[in-house]
Subunit: 356 residues, 2 copies
């Protein structure tokens, strides 16, 4: 059966990097991958066209897709929109929520060819391989009540950080299962010394632990986790945390690998449908200049093939092609270093295709 | 008039490190500083003695003190306490709230003698000097409603992230004024693309900006701030943010300096009363072993002399003495490196006293 892939280029560098990833997808089709590829608008570009960051036509296409490839959303052009519901980010959040993409997998890996690009000392990041599991459809991102209102004569802003046992259990199981397939160590990050919601979080993780006797569960406060990531990131195997802490920690972890231009991510729902996107943002400052790094998006295609399309061989081919291009010394500007050749977005796409 | 100082050793390494700081305080008295020094219990040690992490007798003494020196609180011994209100951390949070210590100043400085101790490449941290201003008596730490309750047949945990305009304005002014005295750049950190409470935060910062025309105000999302701290920390001068983001970012920033054993902090209220404490925690694993680094606590005394007691000369003497001891190559185990001499907690105190 022909499977459906929806490509959502988004804003900023989104269109350029997804264009290169789409070429790889086409090459997979040429090698026999039976998929139908469609495109749609999301984020600021959707707002400009339809007045909504997540138009119904896009959401409808997303719902029937087996997998979604997203570029990136957001930019200063839309930051002044008074109505939060119209901002590009709401397109992304709406997709996550409407499709139930509760499990966000964010690998933080240092590519051997790029260890020197890290701001950390090379010995601290060489061989680094962490998987951060972030809950993506709950927590303070979606909690009610929320808003800004007048109380006692002045405005007050408020949001609600909330998790139910079943939400915690669901993401906990994803993390335990991943840990079983990896280094068998799971660190759950919370702020259980201050926040009740994370006391419940910790309790549920503890309750699940006996079902995964081969996994060693530990707990860490979020402030300490931020420190430990900076101090000695290799101590971690799998980390699991809520939406907001996961946002912060996964970005810090991605940055310290030195390979942030290379890191894909997956957001999965209970039926295995997934959205795949680079860890980095829409980089409006370099948009349209043909300098952005398309590799994280290309590697997101590989992750999609592995997790949603059950095509591990094609996934491996893409990953090997990227490895070869790096071995050959090709680099986009963000990861350039002495002795390497700086290439454009399109040239990088060319090179990966040639190596594929 | 004799001023009152309250020393709260707390838990873990707290008693050892405050003991060394108290010796420095005594030396200041010998040089004419007119203060009365008292001690009291807080945290786990207070719970063990009085069944409360912040006994009334401690709070009463704290209220009349001109300044408080705190060691650290918390430890695994009390982590299993079901009732959050009894945990050591509540002693600290209770002090902050009851004394109205809303302005937490957390310098992240790299001591030239310790640049190589950072996990970041030396060129990224040499000369680093950031001041993080964290709101300390509001936000999600104290927001209501909060708790764990049964809804639709399952337990749900919830906390409330809330700020009023006046709370934001008050901490904003502290940050703008500090920026005026420093590099004149203020970066306000929020998550205004997702959280309404931080939309209000950003708006209030913008409203204040014209009153400080010599300060350049910028805004950054918290996930990006975490990345930028790892990538290029020297881009920052003063950062201002809420209680929870400040907890995470200030710890990450402190760690990446490589000087975390050295960093003091101040928590001030509107009348200039202050609580001073090291940035690091209670380190239960090394408690009682005479190996903890007392320098952050000693430097907290210097900060106290400067901010609450208007004794900048004595403050400078302490800072100079610490600098000299480092120049002489003395290090506690946490900051030891090749070619330096590892000393104990007490020996470090001896050395600072001798240089004072
Ligand atoms: C764009 C933004 C809403 C989003 C988030 O905060 O989740 C992004 O930072 C991410 O991590 O995917
Ligand atoms: C001990 C804990 C409650 C406290 C906090 O989270 O504020 C600590 O981490 C700090 O930063 O002072």
């Amino acid at each position: 059966m022909t499977r459906k892939i929806l490509v959502l280029p988004g804003d900023g560098i989104g269109p350029e990097i997804t264009a290169q990833a789409s070429r790889i997808l086409a090459a997979c089709q040429a090698r026999g991958l039976d998929v139908e590829v469609e495109e749609a608008l999301v984020g600021g570009s959707a707002y400009d066209e339809h007045g909504e960051p997540l138009p119904a036509v896009t959401l409808d296409k997303a719902k029937v897709a087996d997998a979604i490839l997203l570029g990136a959303v957001g930019g200063p052009k839309w930051d002044k929109l008074e109505d939060l519901a119209k901002r590009p980010e709401k397109g992304l959040l709406g997709l996550r929520k409407n499709l139930g993409l509760f499990a966000n997998l964010r690998p933080a890996i240092t590519y051997p060819q790029l260890a020197s690009a890290s701001s950390l000392k090379p010995e601290l990041v060489a061989g680094l391989d962490i998987m951060i599991v972030r809950e993506l459809t709950g927590g303070i991102y979606f909690g009610q009540p929320r808003g800004i209102e007048v109380r006692d004569g002045q405005r007050v802003g408020f949001n609600t950080y909330v998790y139910s046992e079943s939400e915690i259990e669901r993401i906990g199981r994803v993390a335990f299962e991943l840990a079983q397939k990896r280094g068998k160590r799971l660190c759950s990050v919370d702020k259980a010394n201050v926040l009740e919601v994370t006391i419940l979080w910790r309790e549920v993780m503890e309750r699940l632990a006996p079902e995964y006797p081969d996994v060693e569960l530990s707990h860490m406060y979020v402030d300490n986790a931020a420190m430990q990531l900076v101090r000695a990131p290799k101590q971690f195997d799998v980390m699991v945390t809520g939406n907001m802490f996961g946002d912060i920690l996964s970005d810090a972890a991605a940055m310290l690998t030195g390979s942030i231009g290379m890191l894909p991510s997956a957001s999965l729902n209970e039926s295995g449908q997934g959205m795949y996107e680079p860890c980095h943002g829409s980089a409006p400052d370099i948009a349209g200049k043909n300098v952005a790094n398309p590799l994280a998006t290309i590697l997101s295609v590989a992750m999609m093939l592995r997790y949603s399309l059950a095509e591990p061989d094609l996934a491996q081919r893409i990953e090997d092609a990227v490895g070869k291009v790096l071995d050959d010394g090709l680099r986009t500007a963000d990861i350039a270093s002495e002795g390497t050749r700086t290439v454009s977005t399109v040239e990088m796409g060319d090179a990966v295709l040639a190596a594929f």
